[in-house]
């Protein structure tokens, strides 16, 4: 018998594919921002689905803060090569050469220069008029209020009080010169949806998401992995081997690991369903100040 109802995952998939195609049809120079994380991995797969059997008509862009886990960079290059993606990598050369990093400059300065400023410069350099991001509304309070097609003025800023009404699945894609739109196809997905979809679709993800023995140091209650020798020696000396995994991935000094035995997707989902801490607790940058994500978003951070 024919069945005419979609499961929640298939409904979310259909919505995301529609959003991605709409951008390709209406913008002249879109780009998909790729953070190499699990959400990005899902978004990239949805783009491949949207244009099958054709090639995705826009590139991927990774803003490299130069402090990502090494395994992320390996995964990025392998994935892009195997799946025929056109990959752009950009970074803030000036700040990098000046030696900016989280250990020496703190998370705020590092994030601003190596992520926010690097992103703004890259978008400007390539003249992108639309940029996809893998953000979800369930991640953080200010994201819960953001539109799927989120307008940015010529200064790339978000004005939460003056958002365009967004109704049905009819998206307003019109912009003026220098203005742009950030597009969030995963807006309505939750962390559980992401993991279930990864399992269902067998989407490859960075191995750091799976539990393994890793050398970590406890810094301010976060388990920080020793990924290279740029971590100060006095911290590295305190490293211990522990069985950990990551719920989110970013700059290694700013991303806390959790102790876990989950070395398969099934175990990860099982662990997540009984977990008592939200995923953002492992992101160090959120704790800088009250309303800090909203502040960063207003300044142009994704």
């Amino acid at each position: 018998m024919e069945n005419y109802s979609l499961s929640h995952l298939r409904a979310l998939e259909a919505e995301a594919i529609h959003i991605i195609r709409e951008v390709a049809a209406e913008f002249s120079n879109p780009v998909m921002l790729y953070s190499i994380g699990k959400d990005s991995s899902v978004m990239v797969r949805l783009a491949e689905k949207a244009f099958y059997p054709g090639k995705v008509p826009f590139p991927l862009m990774h803003i490299d803060s130069k402090w990502k886990f090494r395994e992320m960079i390996e995964f990025r290059d392998t994935y892009a090569r195997n799946h025929g993606w056109d990959l752009i990598v950009e970074y803030n050369r000036e700040a990098y050469e000046a030696g900016v990093g989280p250990f020496t400059h703190g998370s705020r300065v590092h994030t601003d220069l190596m992520k926010t400023q690097a992103l703004l410069a890259a978008l400007k350099k390539h003249g992108f008029d639309a940029a996809f991001g893998g953000a979800r509304r369930d991640e953080e309070k200010s994201r819960a209020k953001e539109r799927i097609f989120s307008f940015r003025n010529a200064f790339q800023q978000w004005d939460p009080k003056n958002q365009r009404p967004e109704l049905w699945d009819i998206y307003n894609t019109r912009i003026g010169a220098g203005e742009s739109i950030r597009v969030f196809p995963l807006s309505n997905w939750t962390e559980t949806d992401i993991w279930q979809y990864i399992r269902l679709e067998k989407i490859p993800i960075v191995p750091l998401y799976y539990a393994a023995e890793r050398a970590v140091v406890e810094i301010n209650g976060n388990l920080i992995m020793v990924d290279d020798e740029r971590m100060p020696l006095e911290l590295r000396n305190k490293a211990q081997l522990r069985r950990v995994r990551f719920r989110t991935l970013g700059c290694y000094p700013l991303t806390g690991a959790i102790e876990s035995d989950a070395d398969t997707i099934e175990k990860i989902v099982e662990e997540m369903m009984v977990t008592t801490r939200s995923e953002r607790t492992t992101r160090v940058i959120d704790f800088d100040q009250e309303g800090s994500m909203e502040q960063k978003k207003r300044e142009g951070y994704f």
């Binding site: 979609l6 709409e22 099958y52 699945d169 801490r277 939200s278």
Partner: protein, 476 residues
């Protein structure tokens, strides 16, 4: 027997999705209700709870207890002003369904946000305070929910704890709401009235021990079981071409999201506006070709013939009635822009994947959303709703909104600011020009009616206008 995680996941992946809108003000306990749903369905993590307890003590309005409302007030500006500014989306899931809540404020000036939040909702929860009963805002929310075509309504009579869990109070509110609805021009397809206390958790997730007289479903029971299958129009196949795939000489596919209906390989289809016919050769997806597809799936369709078809065009089933086609669109329109409507100005009208130039040719009447009465109007300001006729530069094809929420909806974009100035719901489409607004002038003196009756006559005229949309200028 204990399920394995694989079995559990396989089952959990098959959940349905329900989108719902919550309408009401902070005073009705709306945020408390949402907080309660998230809390009782265990969607809050420890760190979120800790932050909530900390914030409740610092800035909460719950007298030291947990202020669930703080969960919903995300933005800095809102915390300062103590109001919810915009639509916020919340997510939770039970073993049966995944829920997306569009949380919108109840203040009058934010009709825009409620319309935004409700456009995709299957269900709306309208909250009333048991101590105050049906208020103007309840009527306003009911009208807007009906305008948006939301089929299922829960009237949640909240704060039952504050009225001693009185059955009489509840029955009175339910009865007065139903009798008020009966006098209205608009209809609500499916109404469920539930007595709750969001604060104490009665009948939200757990059945109330204090209201044994109530035998209906709890709020969550209802959310989990209300049938939504019929909310999607599976009758008339409508497919707006979104993107044309041409990876090589041998493949030409039309991608889009099915707006409504079902399509099968071999079906005879008609392209609009050209009227050219062909048959469906294949329904292509990344996961393999399909034998059939239905709304709201995103697919790519290939045809047996090379017919002219591009973005903005529509495929329909040849055997089914076509959508209406024309230049003159009669619609209910909601003004969303700070700048009022300028009838002399041209706009972009975006409908499915099609954009055309358009202008508002006629405003028949404005609706007072508090009373649903019709009021004469020459322009429209922010949050105002009107019946209008729009003229488009090229013919468009659509269905009445009441029949099809996908092909009956449009947005209007200001060509200078690019802001979404307005949104609309189609009533009908024609090619005969816009009907002129009917204005009848009568003079009591000429009709030989004594001026002492003028008050009664004026009332009668107002009622005629409300019911028939005829504007009568009554002079002595």
């Amino acid at each position: 027997m204990k399920q394995t995680i694989e079995e559990f996941l396989a089952q959990d992946e098959q959940k349905e999705l329900l989108r719902l809108l919550t309408a009401g003000s902070v005073d009705d306990g709306k945020s408390t209700l949402i907080g309660r749903l998230l809390y009782d369905s265990k969607r809050l993590y420890d760190d979120q709870l800790q932050a909530l307890e900390r914030d409740s003590r610092r800035v909460g309005n719950a007298g030291g207890g947990i202020d669930y409302a703080l969960l919903c007030d995300g933005l800095k500006a809102e915390r300062e002003q103590g109001i919810t500014i915009d639509v916020a989306y919340r997510y939770f899931a039970t073993s049966r369904r995944k829920f997306i809540i569009a949380d919108t404020p109840g203040h009058e000036q934010y009709t825009r946000n409620m319309i935004t939040g409700g456009s995709t909702a299957n269900l709306a929860i309208i909250l009333v305070d048991a101590r105050h009963g049906i208020l103007t805002q309840t009527r306003r929310h009911s009208y807007l929910v009906s305008l948006l075509g939301i089929k299922h309504i829960i009237l949640a009579v909240n704060k039952m704890d504050a009225v001693g869990y009185s059955q009489e109070v509840f029955e009175n509110i339910a009865t007065s709401y139903r009798s008020w609805l009966a006098t209205q021009q608009f209809t609500i397809a499916d109404l469920q009235v539930i007595p709750i206390s969001a604060l104490c958790g009665d009948n939200v997730v757990e059945r109330s021990e204090s209201m044994s007289w109530y035998s209906g479903p709890t709020l969550l029971d209802y959310l989990e079981t209300v049938p939504t299958q019929s909310d999607y129009n599976l009758d008339s196949f409508r497919f707006a071409v979104q993107y044309v795939q041409r990876p090589n000489q041998n493949f030409r596919g039309f991608s889009g999201k099915i707006s409504s209906g079902i399509i099968r390989v071999g079906d005879s289809v008609t392209a609009l506006p050209s009227g050219k016919q062909s048959t469906v050769k294949s329904i292509v997806t990344y996961d393999g070709d399909l034998e059939y597809a239905f709304a709201p799936q995103s697919v790519t369709i290939t045809l047996s013939d090379e017919i002219d078809l591009s973005r903005g065009d529509m495929l329909v089933l040849s055997a089914q009635p076509r959508p209406q086609i024309g230049h003159n669109l009669t619609a209910m329109m909601v003004w969303m822009d700070e700048q009022p409507l300028d009838s002399s100005k041209h706009f972009y009208l975006k409908h499915t994947t099609n954009s055309v130039r358009a202008k508002v040719s006629e405003i028949y009447y404005r609706v007072d959303i508090n009373t649903a009465e019709h009021i004469p109007a020459n322009t429209l300001s922010l949050n105002e709703i009107a019946k209008v006729c729009i003229t488009t530069a090229e013919p468009i094809f659509c269905d009445p909104y009441t029949e099809n929420r996908q092909t009956g909806a449009f947005i209007v974009i200001d060509p200078i600011t690019n802001f979404t100035s307005s949104v609309g719901m189609v009533i009908e489409l024609s090619d005969n020009g816009c009907l002129k607004k009917e204005v009848v002038n009568i003079s009591l003196k000429q009709l030989g009616i004594d001026v002492s009756h003028s008050k009664v006559i004026a009332l009668l005229c107002k009622e005629l206008e409300r019911r028939c949309g005829i504007t009568i200028n009554c002079t002595e």
